[in-house]
């Protein structure tokens, strides 16, 4: 069964600094990979997704992620963080054999002024 690990529970960065959120997955075949963002009191919103092709994918709000098969990783990056990026970020993998999406436990991002 597929699974997702987000090693960092909480990350704090200064506004304007670069950001990288880590995601490792376990999956038997070529995975579909996703990053979602959840602002306080809001539902999850899709930032970007990887299905196939170019391993560097661009998303909304200036985010990008790189699929590295050899490392089973799909890390999320942003060159310059804005205060409004403070939120919870979830990596997800799927759909699996049961069309099931599996989410990581999330990484909470705090942005310092």
């Amino acid at each position: 069964a597929q699974s997702v690990t987000q090693p960092d529970i909480h990350i704090t960065v200064s506004e304007g600094a670069s950001l990288e959120l880590r995601c490792n997955y376990s999956y038997g075949a070529t995975p579909y990979l996703f990053w979602y963002v959840q602002s306080p009191g809001q539902g999850l919103q899709l930032l970007l997704k990887y299905f196939s092709g170019d391993t560097l994918v661009q998303g909304i709000k200036g985010f990008e992620a790189e699929f590295k098969r050899s490392q089973s990783s799909f890390n999320l990056r942003k060159p310059s963080v804005h205060w409004s990026d403070a939120a919870e970020y979830f990596c997800a993998v799927g759909p699996g054999t049961n069309n099931d999406m599996r989410f990581g436990a999330g990484t909470r991002l705090t942005v310092k002024p």
Partner: protein
């Protein structure tokens, strides 16, 4: 385009009471999901519908939880009776095609059981 709508946003009940959550998916989305999100955790699937058929309910605690999706559009998730451990956010999501995994989420229904 309207997003996924859930109600109520917040519900506080005493244990052993029943509670129901409602979800209206995005128009044209055939797949509907109910997820449970505990504090500090990622969403966990409770049940997935393809149109009106529940195709994956393996994680739904069937002794107290039930769900329905009449006519393949709106859905209701019910808990009866509620327990303290059911306090969580219940998320509804929909997608055009379950095979591509792109989900659109509602804002969630936060349940507090006292």
């Amino acid at each position: 385009e309207a997003g996924v709508v859930q109600s109520p946003r917040y519900k506080i009940i005493e244990k052993k009471q029943p509670v129901a959550f409602w979800c209206n998916p995005i128009s044209g989305h055939n797949t509907l999901y109910w997820y449970l999100q505990n504090l500090g955790q990622g969403p966990e699937l409770l049940i997935r519908y393809e149109n009106e058929e529940a195709v994956d309910d393996s994680q739904l605690p069937k002794d107290r939880f039930s769900a329905e999706r009449l006519k393949g559009v709106d859905s209701t998730l019910k808990i009866q009776p509620a327990e303290l451990g059911d306090s969580a956010v219940y998320l509804c999501a929909s997608s055009k095609d379950s095979r591509d995994g792109e989900l659109f989420f509602g804002e969630g229904s936060r349940l507090t059981v006292l």
